[in-house]
Symmetry: C2
Subunit: 239 residues, 2 copies
Protein backbone atom coordinates (compact mmCIF):
# COMPACT_ATOMS: atom_id res chain seq x y z
CA UNK A 1 0.00 0.00 0.00
CA UNK A 2 2.96 2.31 0.03
CA UNK A 3 3.16 5.14 -2.42
CA UNK A 4 5.29 4.69 -5.45
CA UNK A 5 7.06 7.92 -6.28
CA UNK A 6 4.79 9.15 -9.05
CA UNK A 7 1.16 9.35 -8.26
CA UNK A 8 0.23 12.82 -9.36
CA UNK A 9 -1.58 11.18 -12.27
CA UNK A 10 -3.64 9.11 -9.91
CA UNK A 11 -6.79 9.00 -11.96
CA UNK A 12 -5.44 8.19 -15.39
CA UNK A 13 -8.49 7.05 -17.28
CA UNK A 14 -6.82 5.39 -20.27
CA UNK A 15 -6.16 1.74 -19.38
CA UNK A 16 -6.88 1.44 -15.71
CA UNK A 17 -5.24 -1.68 -14.37
CA UNK A 18 -5.78 -3.31 -11.04
CA UNK A 19 -2.66 -3.24 -8.95
CA UNK A 20 -1.74 -5.98 -6.51
CA UNK A 21 -0.23 -5.23 -3.14
CA UNK A 22 0.61 -6.97 0.09
CA UNK A 23 -0.09 -5.58 3.54
CA UNK A 24 1.63 -6.95 6.59
CA UNK A 25 0.28 -7.33 10.07
CA UNK A 26 3.49 -7.91 12.02
CA UNK A 27 2.69 -9.03 15.53
CA UNK A 28 4.94 -9.63 18.50
CA UNK A 29 4.85 -9.40 22.25
CA UNK A 30 6.47 -6.36 23.80
CA UNK A 31 6.53 -6.32 27.61
CA UNK A 32 3.67 -8.78 27.64
CA UNK A 33 1.48 -6.73 25.32
CA UNK A 34 0.41 -7.89 21.89
CA UNK A 35 1.86 -5.27 19.57
CA UNK A 36 1.73 -4.46 15.90
CA UNK A 37 4.30 -2.74 13.74
CA UNK A 38 3.03 0.40 11.98
CA UNK A 39 4.72 2.88 9.74
CA UNK A 40 3.86 6.54 9.45
CA UNK A 41 3.24 7.55 5.87
CA UNK A 42 5.47 10.19 4.37
CA UNK A 43 3.48 10.66 1.15
CA UNK A 44 -0.09 11.14 0.10
CA UNK A 45 -2.58 9.65 0.38
CA UNK A 46 -3.02 9.57 4.12
CA UNK A 47 0.21 11.47 4.62
CA UNK A 48 1.19 11.45 8.29
CA UNK A 49 -1.24 8.69 9.14
CA UNK A 50 -0.16 5.37 10.61
CA UNK A 51 -0.52 2.38 8.34
CA UNK A 52 0.40 -1.25 7.99
CA UNK A 53 3.66 -1.89 6.17
CA UNK A 54 2.97 -2.87 2.61
CA UNK A 55 3.96 -2.55 -0.97
CA UNK A 56 3.06 -3.43 -4.50
CA UNK A 57 3.80 -6.89 -5.82
CA UNK A 58 6.25 -6.83 -8.70
CA UNK A 59 5.68 -8.60 -11.95
CA UNK A 60 6.94 -12.16 -11.67
CA UNK A 61 7.16 -11.98 -7.90
CA UNK A 62 5.59 -14.52 -5.60
CA UNK A 63 3.10 -13.23 -3.03
CA UNK A 64 5.11 -14.65 -0.16
CA UNK A 65 8.22 -13.21 -1.74
CA UNK A 66 6.67 -9.77 -1.85
CA UNK A 67 5.67 -10.09 1.78
CA UNK A 68 9.20 -11.06 2.81
CA UNK A 69 10.63 -8.22 0.77
CA UNK A 70 8.37 -5.68 2.47
CA UNK A 71 9.28 -7.21 5.79
CA UNK A 72 12.95 -6.70 5.03
CA UNK A 73 12.57 -3.21 3.55
CA UNK A 74 10.16 -1.68 6.02
CA UNK A 75 10.73 -3.68 9.16
CA UNK A 76 14.34 -4.86 8.76
CA UNK A 77 13.19 -8.38 9.49
CA UNK A 78 14.68 -11.44 7.84
CA UNK A 79 12.56 -14.37 6.77
CA UNK A 80 13.98 -16.54 9.52
CA UNK A 81 12.65 -14.30 12.23
CA UNK A 82 8.95 -14.64 11.59
CA UNK A 83 6.13 -17.01 10.80
CA UNK A 84 4.30 -15.72 7.74
CA UNK A 85 0.75 -16.65 6.91
CA UNK A 86 -1.86 -15.31 4.53
CA UNK A 87 -4.94 -13.83 6.17
CA UNK A 88 -7.34 -12.54 3.53
CA UNK A 89 -7.38 -10.43 0.41
CA UNK A 90 -9.04 -7.01 0.38
CA UNK A 91 -10.17 -5.56 -2.89
CA UNK A 92 -13.07 -3.18 -2.46
CA UNK A 93 -12.58 -0.57 -5.20
CA UNK A 94 -12.70 2.51 -2.97
CA UNK A 95 -10.18 1.32 -0.42
CA UNK A 96 -7.24 3.16 -1.98
CA UNK A 97 -7.77 6.63 -3.47
CA UNK A 98 -4.99 6.04 -6.01
CA UNK A 99 -7.02 3.50 -7.91
CA UNK A 100 -8.13 -0.07 -7.74
CA UNK A 101 -5.72 -1.90 -5.47
CA UNK A 102 -6.20 -5.49 -4.42
CA UNK A 103 -4.17 -6.21 -1.35
CA UNK A 104 -3.26 -9.58 0.09
CA UNK A 105 -2.96 -9.34 3.86
CA UNK A 106 -0.26 -11.39 5.55
CA UNK A 107 0.18 -11.97 9.23
CA UNK A 108 3.78 -12.17 10.44
CA UNK A 109 4.39 -13.45 13.94
CA UNK A 110 7.74 -13.33 15.64
CA UNK A 111 9.52 -13.55 18.96
CA UNK A 112 10.63 -10.36 20.59
CA UNK A 113 11.15 -8.49 17.34
CA UNK A 114 13.53 -5.52 17.39
CA UNK A 115 12.63 -1.87 17.07
CA UNK A 116 12.30 -1.10 13.38
CA UNK A 117 14.76 1.02 11.48
CA UNK A 118 13.07 3.65 9.44
CA UNK A 119 12.83 2.50 5.81
CA UNK A 120 12.54 4.61 2.69
CA UNK A 121 9.40 6.64 2.03
CA UNK A 122 8.52 6.30 5.67
CA UNK A 123 8.31 9.14 8.18
CA UNK A 124 8.44 6.91 11.23
CA UNK A 125 8.03 3.31 12.27
CA UNK A 126 7.27 1.84 15.67
CA UNK A 127 5.51 -0.83 17.65
CA UNK A 128 2.05 -0.13 18.99
CA UNK A 129 0.39 -2.13 21.68
CA UNK A 130 -3.24 -2.80 20.88
CA UNK A 131 -4.31 -0.76 23.87
CA UNK A 132 -2.43 2.32 22.63
CA UNK A 133 -3.95 1.88 19.20
CA UNK A 134 -7.47 2.46 20.47
CA UNK A 135 -7.14 6.21 19.87
CA UNK A 136 -5.40 6.03 16.50
CA UNK A 137 -7.10 6.22 13.12
CA UNK A 138 -5.26 4.06 10.63
CA UNK A 139 -4.83 4.83 6.93
CA UNK A 140 -6.90 3.15 4.21
CA UNK A 141 -8.99 0.23 5.50
CA UNK A 142 -6.12 -0.90 7.67
CA UNK A 143 -8.14 -0.82 10.87
CA UNK A 144 -10.43 -3.49 9.43
CA UNK A 145 -7.50 -5.48 8.06
CA UNK A 146 -5.81 -5.40 11.44
CA UNK A 147 -8.97 -6.50 13.17
CA UNK A 148 -9.35 -9.52 10.92
CA UNK A 149 -5.74 -10.51 11.51
CA UNK A 150 -5.97 -10.15 15.27
CA UNK A 151 -9.09 -12.26 15.38
CA UNK A 152 -7.40 -14.84 13.17
CA UNK A 153 -4.42 -14.99 15.52
CA UNK A 154 -6.64 -15.30 18.57
CA UNK A 155 -8.64 -18.07 17.06
CA UNK A 156 -5.66 -19.98 15.69
CA UNK A 157 -4.15 -20.17 19.17
CA UNK A 158 -7.13 -22.31 20.08
CA UNK A 159 -6.59 -25.19 17.74
CA UNK A 160 -3.02 -24.89 16.46
CA UNK A 161 0.43 -24.67 18.02
CA UNK A 162 0.88 -21.18 16.58
CA UNK A 163 1.59 -19.63 19.98
CA UNK A 164 5.17 -20.91 19.91
CA UNK A 165 5.96 -18.58 17.01
CA UNK A 166 5.77 -15.70 19.50
CA UNK A 167 8.59 -17.26 21.53
CA UNK A 168 12.31 -17.84 21.04
CA UNK A 169 13.64 -21.33 20.33
CA UNK A 170 13.72 -22.28 23.98
CA UNK A 171 11.08 -21.16 26.41
CA UNK A 172 9.23 -22.06 29.57
CA UNK A 173 5.62 -23.08 30.00
CA UNK A 174 5.01 -19.80 31.81
CA UNK A 175 6.20 -17.85 28.81
CA UNK A 176 3.89 -19.88 26.62
CA UNK A 177 1.03 -19.18 28.98
CA UNK A 178 2.00 -15.52 28.80
CA UNK A 179 1.49 -15.63 25.04
CA UNK A 180 -2.04 -16.97 25.43
CA UNK A 181 -2.86 -14.48 28.15
CA UNK A 182 -1.54 -11.54 26.14
CA UNK A 183 -3.21 -12.49 22.89
CA UNK A 184 -6.52 -13.46 24.45
CA UNK A 185 -6.41 -10.72 27.06
CA UNK A 186 -7.41 -12.88 29.96
CA UNK A 187 -5.60 -14.83 32.69
CA UNK A 188 -5.36 -18.61 32.59
CA UNK A 189 -4.93 -21.03 35.44
CA UNK A 190 -1.19 -21.75 35.65
CA UNK A 191 -1.48 -25.33 36.83
CA UNK A 192 -4.11 -26.42 34.36
CA UNK A 193 -2.31 -24.73 31.51
CA UNK A 194 0.90 -26.49 32.43
CA UNK A 195 -0.74 -29.91 32.25
CA UNK A 196 -2.53 -29.12 29.03
CA UNK A 197 0.56 -27.79 27.28
CA UNK A 198 2.95 -30.50 28.40
CA UNK A 199 0.56 -33.39 27.75
CA UNK A 200 -0.73 -32.35 24.34
CA UNK A 201 1.17 -34.52 21.91
CA UNK A 202 3.42 -32.68 19.49
CA UNK A 203 3.11 -29.29 21.19
CA UNK A 204 6.29 -29.17 23.30
CA UNK A 205 9.58 -31.02 23.52
CA UNK A 206 11.04 -31.18 27.01
CA UNK A 207 14.69 -30.16 27.36
CA UNK A 208 17.09 -31.13 30.12
CA UNK A 209 17.82 -27.58 31.13
CA UNK A 210 16.09 -24.97 33.22
CA UNK A 211 15.74 -21.23 32.85
CA UNK A 212 17.33 -18.89 35.33
CA UNK A 213 14.92 -18.44 38.21
CA UNK A 214 12.80 -15.30 38.26
CA UNK A 215 11.94 -15.12 41.91
CA UNK A 216 10.84 -18.72 42.37
CA UNK A 217 11.56 -22.25 41.36
CA UNK A 218 13.43 -22.39 38.03
CA UNK A 219 11.22 -23.44 35.15
CA UNK A 220 12.08 -26.26 32.81
CA UNK A 221 12.89 -25.25 29.24
CA UNK A 222 11.01 -26.56 26.23
CA UNK A 223 11.18 -26.11 22.52
CA UNK A 224 8.40 -26.32 19.93
CA UNK A 225 7.30 -29.79 18.91
CA UNK A 226 6.54 -30.90 15.39
CA UNK A 227 2.75 -30.92 15.72
CA UNK A 228 0.70 -28.11 14.25
CA UNK A 229 -2.80 -28.99 15.40
CA UNK A 230 -3.91 -28.93 19.03
CA UNK A 231 -6.26 -31.78 19.82
CA UNK A 232 -8.29 -31.38 21.81
CA UNK A 233 -8.25 -27.62 21.28
CA UNK A 234 -7.56 -25.04 23.96
CA UNK A 235 -10.73 -22.97 23.85
CA UNK A 236 -10.76 -19.39 24.98
CA UNK A 237 -14.48 -19.28 25.67
CA UNK A 238 -15.65 -20.12 29.19
CA UNK A 239 -17.79 -17.76 31.23
Amino acid sequence: MQASASESTASDSTAPEIRVAVDLIVLTLRDGALSVLLIQREDEPHRGAWALPGGFVRHGEDLDGAAYRVLADEASLGSGAVHLEQVRTFGTPGRDPRGHVVSVAFMALGADLPDPERGEDVADARWWSLADLADVTLAFDHAAVLEVAIERARSKLEYTTLAVTFLPGEFTVSQLRGVYESVWGRPLDAGNFHRKATRTEGFLVELDRHAAPTGGRPARLYRAGTGTRLVPPLLRISE
Copy 2:
Protein backbone atom coordinates in the same frame (compact mmCIF):
# COMPACT_ATOMS: atom_id res chain seq x y z
CA MET B 1 -8.87 -17.99 -14.96
CA GLN B 2 -10.88 -18.13 -18.13
CA ALA B 3 -9.41 -16.93 -21.38
CA SER B 4 -10.35 -13.49 -22.49
CA ALA B 5 -10.73 -13.43 -26.25
CA SER B 6 -7.39 -11.90 -27.19
CA GLU B 7 -4.33 -13.54 -25.80
CA SER B 8 -2.21 -14.08 -28.86
CA THR B 9 0.06 -11.35 -27.54
CA ALA B 10 0.50 -13.21 -24.30
CA SER B 11 4.11 -12.32 -23.66
CA ASP B 12 4.08 -8.61 -24.37
CA SER B 13 7.25 -7.45 -22.70
CA THR B 14 6.55 -3.73 -22.57
CA ALA B 15 4.65 -3.05 -19.37
CA PRO B 16 3.77 -6.43 -17.93
CA GLU B 17 0.96 -5.99 -15.47
CA ILE B 18 -0.27 -8.47 -12.91
CA ARG B 19 -3.82 -9.51 -13.60
CA VAL B 20 -6.29 -10.32 -10.84
CA ALA B 21 -8.73 -13.18 -11.14
CA VAL B 22 -11.18 -15.11 -9.01
CA ASP B 23 -11.50 -18.89 -8.99
CA LEU B 24 -14.56 -20.58 -7.59
CA ILE B 25 -14.81 -23.83 -5.73
CA VAL B 26 -18.54 -24.47 -5.92
CA LEU B 27 -19.48 -27.31 -3.61
CA THR B 28 -22.77 -29.08 -3.11
CA LEU B 29 -24.06 -32.51 -2.18
CA ARG B 30 -25.28 -34.67 -5.04
CA ASP B 31 -26.77 -38.00 -4.02
CA GLY B 32 -24.93 -37.80 -0.74
CA ALA B 33 -21.56 -37.16 -2.35
CA LEU B 34 -19.59 -33.94 -1.92
CA SER B 35 -19.29 -32.59 -5.44
CA VAL B 36 -17.56 -29.72 -7.15
CA LEU B 37 -18.55 -27.84 -10.27
CA LEU B 38 -15.92 -27.89 -13.03
CA ILE B 39 -15.91 -26.48 -16.52
CA GLN B 40 -14.07 -27.90 -19.47
CA ARG B 41 -11.88 -25.33 -21.15
CA GLU B 42 -12.58 -24.46 -24.74
CA ASP B 43 -9.47 -22.34 -25.30
CA GLU B 44 -5.77 -22.55 -24.65
CA PRO B 45 -4.07 -22.85 -22.32
CA HIS B 46 -5.13 -26.22 -20.99
CA ARG B 47 -7.69 -26.57 -23.75
CA GLY B 48 -9.95 -29.52 -23.08
CA ALA B 49 -8.86 -29.82 -19.47
CA TRP B 50 -11.25 -29.49 -16.57
CA ALA B 51 -10.87 -26.40 -14.45
CA LEU B 52 -12.50 -24.39 -11.70
CA PRO B 53 -14.86 -21.70 -12.93
CA GLY B 54 -13.15 -18.35 -12.81
CA GLY B 55 -12.55 -15.07 -14.50
CA PHE B 56 -10.64 -11.85 -14.37
CA VAL B 57 -11.69 -9.12 -11.99
CA ARG B 58 -12.74 -5.96 -13.80
CA HIS B 59 -11.45 -2.55 -12.95
CA GLY B 60 -13.62 -1.06 -10.22
CA GLU B 61 -15.21 -4.36 -9.41
CA ASP B 62 -15.39 -5.79 -5.92
CA LEU B 63 -13.81 -9.21 -5.36
CA ASP B 64 -17.07 -10.64 -4.08
CA GLY B 65 -18.84 -9.02 -6.99
CA ALA B 66 -16.52 -10.69 -9.46
CA ALA B 67 -17.11 -14.02 -7.75
CA TYR B 68 -20.88 -13.60 -7.97
CA ARG B 69 -20.62 -12.58 -11.61
CA VAL B 70 -18.60 -15.68 -12.48
CA LEU B 71 -21.09 -17.75 -10.53
CA ALA B 72 -23.91 -16.32 -12.61
CA ASP B 73 -22.08 -16.53 -15.94
CA GLU B 74 -20.48 -19.92 -15.67
CA ALA B 75 -22.72 -21.75 -13.23
CA SER B 76 -26.08 -20.00 -13.70
CA LEU B 77 -26.27 -19.52 -9.97
CA GLY B 78 -27.75 -16.46 -8.34
CA SER B 79 -26.25 -14.90 -5.25
CA GLY B 80 -29.15 -16.07 -3.11
CA ALA B 81 -28.41 -19.70 -3.77
CA VAL B 82 -24.97 -19.97 -2.24
CA HIS B 83 -22.82 -19.06 0.69
CA LEU B 84 -19.67 -17.37 -0.61
CA GLU B 85 -16.46 -17.20 1.34
CA GLN B 86 -12.89 -16.32 0.52
CA VAL B 87 -10.41 -19.15 0.88
CA ARG B 88 -6.93 -17.99 -0.09
CA THR B 89 -5.12 -16.11 -2.81
CA PHE B 90 -2.75 -17.88 -5.18
CA GLY B 91 -0.11 -15.88 -6.97
CA THR B 92 2.91 -17.98 -7.80
CA PRO B 93 4.19 -16.49 -11.06
CA GLY B 94 4.28 -19.71 -13.07
CA ARG B 95 0.75 -20.82 -12.29
CA ASP B 96 -0.76 -19.39 -15.47
CA PRO B 97 1.19 -19.61 -18.75
CA ARG B 98 -0.45 -16.42 -20.02
CA GLY B 99 1.42 -14.27 -17.55
CA HIS B 100 1.39 -13.28 -13.93
CA VAL B 101 -2.11 -13.90 -12.61
CA VAL B 102 -3.01 -13.51 -8.97
CA SER B 103 -6.18 -15.40 -8.25
CA VAL B 104 -8.43 -15.09 -5.22
CA ALA B 105 -10.08 -18.42 -4.50
CA PHE B 106 -13.66 -18.37 -3.25
CA MET B 107 -15.62 -21.26 -1.87
CA ALA B 108 -19.34 -21.30 -2.75
CA LEU B 109 -21.55 -23.70 -0.84
CA GLY B 110 -25.13 -24.39 -1.75
CA ALA B 111 -28.04 -26.76 -1.30
CA ASP B 112 -28.80 -29.16 -4.06
CA LEU B 113 -27.52 -26.92 -6.84
CA PRO B 114 -28.85 -27.53 -10.34
CA ASP B 115 -26.98 -28.94 -13.30
CA PRO B 116 -25.06 -26.09 -14.92
CA GLU B 117 -25.95 -24.64 -18.28
CA ARG B 118 -22.96 -24.33 -20.50
CA GLY B 119 -21.67 -20.76 -20.45
CA GLU B 120 -19.66 -18.91 -23.07
CA ASP B 121 -16.08 -19.97 -23.84
CA VAL B 122 -16.81 -23.26 -22.14
CA ALA B 123 -16.84 -26.66 -23.82
CA ASP B 124 -18.70 -28.42 -21.05
CA ALA B 125 -19.69 -27.99 -17.42
CA ARG B 126 -20.72 -30.59 -14.88
CA TRP B 127 -20.62 -31.72 -11.28
CA TRP B 128 -17.87 -34.08 -10.19
CA SER B 129 -17.97 -36.09 -7.01
CA LEU B 130 -14.63 -36.03 -5.26
CA ALA B 131 -14.28 -39.78 -5.79
CA ASP B 132 -14.65 -39.42 -9.57
CA LEU B 133 -12.12 -36.63 -9.58
CA ALA B 134 -9.34 -38.90 -8.39
CA ASP B 135 -8.41 -39.80 -11.97
CA VAL B 136 -8.72 -36.31 -13.44
CA THR B 137 -5.87 -33.87 -13.91
CA LEU B 138 -7.09 -30.33 -13.43
CA ALA B 139 -5.87 -27.27 -15.33
CA PHE B 140 -3.45 -24.73 -13.83
CA ASP B 141 -2.85 -25.25 -10.11
CA HIS B 142 -6.51 -25.95 -9.59
CA ALA B 143 -5.94 -29.33 -7.96
CA ALA B 144 -4.06 -27.59 -5.16
CA VAL B 145 -6.66 -24.83 -4.93
CA LEU B 146 -9.43 -27.39 -4.69
CA GLU B 147 -7.60 -29.30 -2.00
CA VAL B 148 -7.18 -26.20 0.14
CA ALA B 149 -10.86 -25.37 -0.22
CA ILE B 150 -12.01 -28.88 0.65
CA GLU B 151 -9.84 -28.94 3.72
CA ARG B 152 -11.19 -25.52 4.69
CA ALA B 153 -14.76 -26.74 4.35
CA ARG B 154 -14.03 -29.89 6.37
CA SER B 155 -12.42 -27.95 9.12
CA LYS B 156 -15.05 -25.21 9.26
CA LEU B 157 -17.77 -27.79 9.84
CA GLU B 158 -16.03 -28.50 13.12
CA TYR B 159 -16.36 -25.14 14.75
CA THR B 160 -18.96 -23.23 12.76
CA THR B 161 -22.56 -23.79 11.68
CA LEU B 162 -21.49 -23.82 8.04
CA ALA B 163 -23.01 -27.25 7.37
CA VAL B 164 -26.50 -25.75 7.10
CA THR B 165 -25.47 -23.93 3.93
CA PHE B 166 -25.49 -27.32 2.19
CA LEU B 167 -29.17 -27.76 3.06
CA PRO B 168 -32.45 -26.13 2.01
CA GLY B 169 -34.28 -23.78 4.34
CA GLU B 170 -35.99 -26.59 6.20
CA PHE B 171 -34.27 -29.85 6.94
CA THR B 172 -34.06 -32.74 9.36
CA VAL B 173 -31.31 -33.63 11.76
CA SER B 174 -30.58 -36.70 9.63
CA GLN B 175 -29.99 -34.55 6.62
CA LEU B 176 -27.63 -32.39 8.65
CA ARG B 177 -25.81 -35.48 9.81
CA GLY B 178 -25.63 -36.54 6.18
CA VAL B 179 -23.79 -33.32 5.37
CA TYR B 180 -21.18 -34.03 8.02
CA GLU B 181 -20.82 -37.63 6.93
CA SER B 182 -20.45 -36.72 3.27
CA VAL B 183 -17.98 -33.91 3.81
CA TRP B 184 -15.90 -35.74 6.38
CA GLY B 185 -16.26 -39.09 4.68
CA ARG B 186 -17.05 -41.06 7.79
CA PRO B 187 -20.19 -42.19 9.60
CA LEU B 188 -21.36 -40.53 12.78
CA ASP B 189 -23.46 -41.95 15.56
CA ALA B 190 -27.05 -40.90 14.85
CA GLY B 191 -28.14 -40.58 18.46
CA ASN B 192 -25.15 -38.64 19.69
CA PHE B 193 -25.25 -36.34 16.69
CA HIS B 194 -28.91 -35.62 17.28
CA ARG B 195 -28.29 -34.53 20.84
CA LYS B 196 -25.28 -32.45 19.91
CA ALA B 197 -27.02 -30.66 17.04
CA THR B 198 -30.28 -29.93 18.83
CA ARG B 199 -28.66 -28.82 22.10
CA THR B 200 -25.96 -26.56 20.69
CA GLU B 201 -27.29 -23.06 21.16
CA GLY B 202 -27.89 -21.10 17.98
CA PHE B 203 -27.37 -24.03 15.63
CA LEU B 204 -30.96 -25.12 14.90
CA VAL B 205 -34.46 -23.73 15.32
CA GLU B 206 -37.10 -26.35 15.93
CA LEU B 207 -40.21 -26.16 13.73
CA ASP B 208 -43.63 -27.58 14.46
CA ARG B 209 -43.71 -29.73 11.37
CA HIS B 210 -42.31 -33.05 10.35
CA ALA B 211 -40.85 -34.31 7.10
CA ALA B 212 -42.57 -37.08 5.15
CA PRO B 213 -41.38 -40.38 6.55
CA THR B 214 -38.68 -42.24 4.64
CA GLY B 215 -39.20 -45.74 5.88
CA GLY B 216 -39.39 -44.97 9.57
CA ARG B 217 -40.58 -42.46 12.09
CA PRO B 218 -41.03 -39.01 10.54
CA ALA B 219 -38.28 -36.60 11.46
CA ARG B 220 -38.92 -33.18 12.89
CA LEU B 221 -38.05 -30.23 10.67
CA TYR B 222 -35.57 -27.55 11.66
CA ARG B 223 -34.20 -24.42 10.12
CA ALA B 224 -30.80 -22.78 10.63
CA GLY B 225 -30.34 -20.76 13.80
CA THR B 226 -28.63 -17.42 14.05
CA GLY B 227 -25.40 -18.67 15.61
CA THR B 228 -22.26 -19.02 13.52
CA ARG B 229 -19.84 -20.58 15.95
CA LEU B 230 -20.23 -24.07 17.38
CA VAL B 231 -19.17 -24.22 21.02
CA PRO B 232 -18.04 -26.66 22.02
CA PRO B 233 -16.89 -27.72 18.55
CA LEU B 234 -17.83 -30.91 16.80
CA LEU B 235 -14.44 -32.47 16.16
CA ARG B 236 -13.91 -34.91 13.37
CA ILE B 237 -10.84 -36.54 14.88
CA SER B 238 -11.37 -39.58 17.11
CA GLU B 239 -9.64 -42.88 16.46
